[in-house]
């Protein structure tokens, strides 16, 4: 755990496409930003849910992939040198005195800022709970969706379910600690780095782990202590003894801590005005998929527009004494200096 305290002009919660573009609009107005995202990479839904799929409605890009768009945004905001805190979830947002906020993450990071921009999209990405009967009863005691401390798994009969990189990586990392290791996946092909698959297969061939073709259907045990998983295999159901289960079935978006910050919510969205995109709390703005207003469209395009207007209002809060002069990037030498092209 770190307990760093940073100070900046604007803290942006969520590094999806809209949070990223906000860095650009704020940067043109000389506002420095920190961004926080629970994902270990920038790009939000574009990066996590559809990196390879085409988007056709980004102005002037007849077609661009989710990942392509994120790469371009990262390039565009590079001159502004925003600081990223990735793999951290914002848990607390508090007002400090008259004109400022402090945002804290689950990793112990604290950031003081004069303005907070909530660009949290559909909420924070969290591991998906697989539809296994009765799994809730074992969560937190025998079933875990992430590994905080590897030591917690030492000496256990471990079952890992899934066929992606997380499943393979944790199979390889935890195998040396586990009493026994079983990987269960519904087919012989994996969606993972070929190198990890090769390593897993080598361990299997050496008898150091079991690979079981099949799907976990239900669990048995008592008082939250797992004893076995019922796995449906091509040859019928079998019981796989295990004391810990780590299911890796991708990520889904849950509103999460955004609900705890005292902001008005309407059906899990944050109502804002359409002049500044400010929330019910002065100094806290909401842009992108997380906000709502009459006529709102959940499009990347709308989020970009919202960023531009929000930035004007943020500027007035951070530098109340400065006059805002409307300028074009094409012709303003001062904007071009900020962009590093002059």
């Amino acid at each position: 755990m770190t307990s760093d305290l940073f100070e900046t002009d604007v803290v942006i919660i969520g590094a999806g496409p809209v949070g990223l573009f906000a860095v650009f609009e704020l940067g043109l107005l000389d506002l420095n930003c920190h961004l926080i995202d629970i994902l270990d990479k920038p790009g939000g839904q574009c990066a996590e849910l559809y990196p390879e799929k085409p988007i056709y409605d980004i102005p002037a890009w007849p077609v661009i992939s989710g990942e392509g768009l994120v790469d371009k945004l990262m390039e565009q905001i590079k001159p502004f040198d925003a600081q990223f805190h990735l793999g951290e979830m914002v848990t607390e947002l508090e007002r400090t005195g008259e004109n400022g906020f402090i945002v804290r993450t689950d990793a112990g990071t604290g950031i003081k800022a004069k303005v907070v921009v909530v660009a949290a999209g559909g909420g924070s990405f969290q591991p998906k709970r697989p539809p296994i009967a009765g799994i809730e009863d074992y969560e937190g005691s025998s079933v875990f969706y992430s590994v905080r401390r590897m030591e917690d798994f030492r000496g256990h009969n471990l079952l890992i379910a899934g066929g992606g990189d997380s499943a393979l990586d944790w199979t390889l990392n935890l195998q040396p600690l586990a009493k026994s290791m079983t990987l269960v996946h519904r087919r012989p092909e994996f969606r993972a780095a070929p190198d990890s698959v090769n390593k897993m297969e080598a361990l299997r061939d050496a008898g150091d782990l079991t690979f079981q073709l099949g799907q976990v259907m239900s669990l048995t045990g008592t008082g939250g202590q797992l004893e076995a998983a019922i796995v449906k295999t091509p040859d019928g159901e079998i019981e796989v003894p295990c004391t810990r289960l780590l299911p890796f079935f991708g990520l889904t978006m849950k509103l999460g801590p955004v609900a705890d910050w005292g902001l008005n919510l309407h059906e899990n969205l944050i109502p804002v005005d359409t002049e500044k995109f400010q929330t019910s709390e002065p100094g806290i703005f909401a842009i992108g998929d997380i906000n709502t207003y009459p006529g709102k469209l959940k499009l990347i395009l709308s989020g970009f527009h919202e960023s531009a207007l929000m930035a004007q209002a943020a500027k007035r809060i951070v530098h109340p004494d400065q006059r805002i002069v409307f300028q074009y990037t094409t012709s303003s030498s001062s904007l071009q200096k900020k962009l590093g092209v002059r």
């Binding site: 849910l49 799929k53 998906k128 539809p131 087919r187 969606r191």
Partner: protein, 106 residues
């Protein structure tokens, strides 16, 4: 018009008119067939439009592309006839296609 038949979890039969060129998922959503959620709107990114294709139709609907196969990893109780219904395009050939809704979506 092409007819697509959905068998609900409770056995209810939904016989729906489907537009050629649309998808089996869109057909279900338009009529609100319970159990087809389609959270990602047909982008093959959520696995909540999972169906079992009736054995007799499996040849006609074909096999999943690798991307769909990857996404099926997230579905519950995947069987040899499992498909993501947003990836099945409606055409005259599929007139009478019967699919059933699984017990749970991912």
């Amino acid at each position: 018009m092409t007819k697509i038949i959905f068998i609900g979890r409770d056995g209810t039969r939904y016989e729906l008119d489907a537009e050629n060129g649309s998808t089996v998922m869109e057909t279900a959503i338009k009529s609100g067939v319970p159990g087809i959620e389609a959270e990602c709107g047909g982008a093959c990114a959520c696995a909540t439009c999972h169906v079992y294709v009736d054995e007799a139709w499996a040849d006609k609907t074909g096999v999943p592309e690798p991307m769909e196969e990857d996404m099926l990893d997230f579905a519950y109780d995947v069987r040899p006839t499992s498909r993501l219904s947003c990836q099945i395009r409606v055409s005259d050939d599929l007139d009478g296609l019967t699919v059933s809704v699984p017990e749970k979506q991912a």
